[in-house]
Amino acid sequence: MNSVELITALLILGGAFLALIRAVKGPTVYDRVLAVNVFGTKTVILLALLGYIGNRSGFLDIAVLYALVNFLGTVALLRFVESRRFFQ
């Protein structure tokens, strides 16, 4: 891992941390949903970067899976916020 890659990884982690602060502070539920979504995206990017650094192609599969799971979670959260119930 050279210094450019390390700095990139640290910047992504910093961005993820900022999203985490927004998720904790809120204040509205939409801030939180957006923060969780941003955090998921940062995770995907971080995984892809770590896979590139370590030359491990298996990381990309996991990154794609995370993108899907993140989307699923966001949709479930927004459905809950909209109607407060899932079965109707």
Partner: protein, 203 residues
Amino acid sequence: MSDPVLLINVILLVIAIMTAIAAMWTRDLLGAVMLMGIYSLLLAVEWANLFAMDVSYTEAAVGAGAATILLLTALTRTGTREKEGPNFHPTALLTVLVTGAVLIYGTADMPRFGDPDAPATVNVAPEYIAQNVGKVDAGADGPENDFGDHVPNAVTAVLASYRGYDTMFETAVIFTAGVCVILILRPLASSARRKTAQSQEDA
């Protein structure tokens, strides 16, 4: 810190601990569910970093995906505010600390990472690698196959042959749990349907 990967691991774990504390501290249960989703994603990255790809897959799919939806479904029956009360429980903290100390004490007896003489690698693992598990003598007039009468994949041999009953009843347990969840949630679904039917009659 000399090792950059170690530095990233440490940062990930510190953020994970902070997320867990925030999830416990908040009174807003919907926010806590979201923080638990973030926590699962962080742990999944950490597992991938430790080369545990299967655990990472499971953590992402179950922890961040299914558990979030399950907790939200629970919130539809309970409400999204935690009851007012003391935030600090000394007995619970003591229990957690003692359990953690015992677990860390237990790791002292574990063999070194990657030790070839570790009990896990000298007991039955050579049998799996030699593909002797699940070997069936088909006899001279048995069906012909290319695998020399053994299960061709070591993982399949362990999961479907050596632990066949374990896997089968695991499936039964998960099926039972799914049926229970559906039974708990069903009245809500049917009452909602009745309400829609009623409103259609009114109209």
